[in-house]
């Protein structure tokens, strides 16, 4: 122990003499002189190549999917027709604009419109994939579901909608859904567990009994009942999955609070006359977040799985919404259309594996034993 102290003391003394300008939060440079415990954990996380790359890839895919309308759409991004510029992506243009007969919104997949746009002097910039998730390809040469072709790179589903487009939009929906569920259930779980663990005693007992009753509810039946009562919507699903998703987080936070509330730094804050609210949020909470952060990727993976299985059963998002679960159900109903199940399965597994690799790396990075090992010489 002495040796450790001496070495640490020596190191900090050196830092002090070489004197970086005062920086209370250590945010000045890339490698701050006084890294906070979070910064050190982040450095350990970055040291795990697989987990760090997985996080980068997952975030990149998420950001890409946020621009799904630009990547995969049945409307051109930009059109020049008869000397005028149009942005069909945000404008609704009647067919008559492009020399059509009807004042209905333009179908840019119509061969006539294509011809008009291909005329000299006209110009259209199409997205990478020329289908929206709701576009039905009426011009496919094969019956639906159509196998992969030059038009539909991954084929179409059983209603003639482009599979790639549906996967892209479905991935986005799944990820955003997972973020929403995780944020809502984590916030609630942390708050619930914090109150439970900090006040302990009767508060804890009463709240724990409620958790037990709540945890015993048959989630799936409730979802079935709710889907019969209410019109299905994504918002309703977020609410339903969240109200059952916070139990585990609350349990972890409660245990951490029970442990930390008896530590001397909490007693010292109480002896100073600090308010409970400040002690909970400023003193104890930051020391209880390790299990919460570790759980986040797993929580997200769980939310994606839950949404997918509800959609697969037909209890999930409203008809027509692009969703991975609905595609899996289609794949099951059309076993000969192998491209549907294979592509959906690949996207789903890839997403979940990325999340789990990130979670694994986070767990390693936040392992308290690693923290101690780093302090030791």
């Amino acid at each position: 122990m002495t040796e450790r102290f001496v070495k640490k003391g020596g190191a900090s003394a050196r830092v002090a003499r070489s004197g970086p300008p005062f920086d209370p939060h250590g945010l000045a440079g890339q490698s701050p002189a006084n890294p906070s415990p979070w910064q050190r954990a982040w450095a350990r996380f970055k040291g795990n190549r697989l987990g760090y790359r997985s996080l980068q890839l997952f975030l990149a895919l998420t950001v890409l999917s946020l621009f799904a309308e630009v990547l995969s759409n049945d409307k051109p991004l930009l059109v020049r027709y008869s000397g005028h510029w149009y942005v069909p992506l945000v404008q609704t243009l009647p067919e008559t604009t492009f020399g059509g007969d009807f004042p209905t919104p333009t179908d840019f997949l119509d061969p006539f419109i294509r011809e008009q746009l291909a005329k000299p002097g006209n110009f259209a910039l199409f997205p990478l994939n020329r289908y929206h998730h709701s576009t039905i390809n009426y011009f496919s040469r094969e019956p639906d579901p159509a196998p992969p072709s030059r038009q539909n790179w991954l084929g179409t589903d059983d209603r003639g909608r482009d599979l790639l487009a549906r996967l892209l939009y479905g991935f986005r929906l799944s990820v955003l859904f997972a973020f929403a569920v995780t944020i809502v259930s984590t916030l609630f779980g942390v708050l619930y567990g914090a109150i439970q663990g900090y006040f302990a005693g009767w508060t804890d007992i009463a709240m724990e009994r409620f958790v037990e009753i709540w945890g015993a509810m048959p989630t799936l039946y409730l979802l079935i009942i709710f889907s019969a009562f209410f019109a299905p919507s994504v918002g309703l699903l977020v609410a339903l999955i969240s109200i059952f998703g916070w139990l585990m987080i609350a349990a972890y936070v409660r245990a951490e609070f029970l442990k930390n509330r008896t530590l001397d730094y909490v007693r010292a804050a109480k002896a100073l006359g600090q308010r409970n609210r400040v002690i909970i949020f400023r003193h104890i909470l930051p020391n209880c977040l390790t299990p919460v952060i570790t759980l986040v990727p797993f929580e997200m993976a769980g939310a994606i799985g839950a949404l997918t299985s509800l959609d697969f059963l037909g209890l999930g998002v409203p008809e027509g919404t692009p969703s991975l679960g609905e595609l899996l159900a289609q794949g099951k109903n059309n076993l000969d259309a192998w491209w549907i199940s294979l592509a959906t399965f690949t996207v789903l597994v890839f997403t979940l594996v990325l999340l789990i690799l990130v979670g694994d790396a986070l767990r390693d990075a936040l392992d308290p034993r690693k923290e101690i090992a780093e302090d030791a010489p």
Binding site: K8, A11, D23, P37
Partner: protein
């Protein structure tokens, strides 16, 4: 020579923890290996059994003429337990919790002596009897958790001695025990040593223990053996500066006389904890455990009141009651105001008069706050009107006050986190946090017992200095007689929740205090 260690170097990976250590030990001799934590003393001693698989050993260890470093695994196994036995610091973790004490003693006998079950059991009972465990026939079937701390340590000694070893390695054998039991265990070790002409290699950081027990002393500092020689010679005329520092770290009384008056008064203070009752009755009612009862005392400005007692004697409960952090009966008044008569707001205001410094500097600072946030917290509660610059100035002067300024200013420390500091530095930060609100009373709950001896002295000196500078009153809660002797004016001795003695330090304290109190049997 029974044990000859020559130029022993030990490395773990690239790190050398012990560097060219040489010492010898004769049959029947008592050698104390002394040093602070991290000095390599335990690694050195246990390496004579090659107990560390990951360690790379260089040099020579000869036991009865045979080279230990060249031994094959089966020879090593015969050496361990049979010729050289070890007793560890913490008997609770060194004994297997799911095996009875008897079974663990019998295991060694069956392994090394090839005894049958019945015979091994008889010998185990005899071994327990030799180490003075009461009712050995019953205790042989007890599990470790059913024994008291002293009994466990005795059982471990019985286990170590079961196979008649020639050398006993005792790794801090009394550190985990209550003060009152330490002497008994030492007396036991000494008696057994004389009976069997046993050589003892004692690893310790406690110089009082060395004085009482050792023939010769070897002092280690950071993996190097800096001095060795006969006990008396080393203790009285140390040659190496580090030894001097170690010896010097005992007692140095530098306290001023208290003033007249009273800042803290307790009348018939009692603390009671609810404890669960077993069985179905526990659903409806709770039992009571009386941690403190009927404690009365006063504290004058500039005075230090020592509260001394074994673990479980109620001294920490009393400290928490003084801080109004645990419900208490009786009356406690701080600066003339009784906690019980105050509302929430008034209590908050009164808290700045009485602050606290805890034992473990690792758990008493929140690891995710910077030093500035930790030390400045009291100001944000009690003086919220300060400007940013005033706050910063107060924090710097508080850090300066506790001797943490580097190059004349503590500026560079403000943005750091607790993990970047050593135990002693952290304790100084904790003191700064308490003092920044200018309290009149500071409760010191074992302020030095988790620090190394040389650091202990610095912290005690600092506390005495601060007391003189600010006229502080201390309530010093500890089990360490030396600390009380160095710091306190008056002392309360607690036992089983009651104050059993009270008075001036020089009148109450004596070396055999615990024995006189007729403390808990083993």
């Amino acid at each position: 020579m029974m044990l000859e260690v020559q130029d022993l170097s030990i490395s773990f990976g690239a790190r050398k923890v012990v560097d060219s250590v040489s010492f010898t030990l004769d049959a029947g001799e008592k050698l104390a290996l002394v040093g602070e934590s991290g000095s390599g003393k335990t690694v050195t001693a246990l390496s004579t059994l090659r107990l560390f698989d990951a360690a790379r050993l260089q040099g020579s260890i000869r036991f009865q003429g045979r080279e230990v470093l060249a031994m094959r695994p089966n020879e090593l196994q015969a050496l361990r337990g049979n010729d050289i036995a070890v007793i560890f610091q913490e008997p609770m973790t060194a004994l297997n919790p799911v095996m009875t004490v008897g079974a663990q003693i019998m295991e060694a006998l069956q392994l090394h002596k090839g005894l049958g079950r019945a015979e091994a059991r008889a010998q185990a009972i005899a071994a327990l009897m030799r180490v003075e465990v009461a009712e050995p026939e019953r205790r042989v079937d007890s599990y470790p958790h059913q024994l008291s701390g002293g009994q466990r340590q005795r059982a471990m000694i019985a286990m170590a001695l079961a196979c008649d070893p020639k050398l006993l390695i005792a790794d801090e054998p009394t550190t985990a025990l209550d003060v009152s039991i330490r002497h008994q265990i030492l007396d036991l070790l000494e008696r057994i040593r004389v009976e069997r002409n046993l050589a003892v290699l004692m690893i310790t950081h406690d110089l009082n223990l060395v004085r009482r027990f050792a023939d010769r002393v070897a002092v280690m500092e950071r993996g190097v053996l800096v001095e060795q020689g006969p006990m008396r010679q080393v203790m009285e005329t140390p040659r190496h500066p580090y030894t001097l520092k170690l010896i010097d770290s005992l007692c140095a009384r530098e306290v001023a006389e208290p003033q007249a008056g009273c800042v803290l008064e307790g009348r018939a203070v009692g603390v009671v904890y609810p404890v669960p009752r077993p069985g179905i009755r526990g659903w409806f009612s709770r039992g009571e455990f009386t941690a403190v009862s009927g404690a009365s005392f006063t504290l004058a400005p500039g005075e230090t009141l020592g509260v001394i007692g074994e673990s479980g004697s109620g001294k920490t409960s009393l400290a928490l009651a003084l801080l109004d952090l645990t419900p208490a009966s009786g009356e406690i008044s701080v600066a003339g105001q009784a906690w019980s008569s105050l509302g929430r707001q008034q209590k908050r205001a009164l808290r700045r008069q009485i602050q606290v410094v805890f034992q473990d500097p690792f758990s008493s600072l929140s690891p995710r706050l910077t030093i500035e946030q930790i030390v400045g917290e009291g100001l944000s509660i009690h003086e919220p009107d300060l400007t940013q610059a005033q706050r910063r100035a107060r924090i710097l002067s508080a850090l300066d006050d506790v001797g943490l300024a580097e190059d004349g200013s503590a500026q560079a420390l403000l943005g750091r986190y607790p993990h970047e500091f050593s135990g002693g530095q952290r304790q100084r930060i904790a003191i700064a946090r308490a003092l920044i609100v200018n309290p009149r009373i500071v409760i010191l709950d074992e302020p030095t017992s988790s620090l190394d001896v040389t650091i202990q002295k610095q912290v005690l000196q600092l506390l005495a200095q601060l007391q003189r500078r600010h006229g502080l009153s201390y309530v010093l809660v500890t089990h360490d007689i030396d600390v009380v002797r160095a710091m306190a004016h008056r002392v309360l001795v607690m036992k089983d929740g009651r104050v059993v003695r009270e008075g001036r330090v020089d009148q109450v304290l004596s070396d055999r205090l615990w024995d006189e109190l007729g403390s808990a049997s083993n």
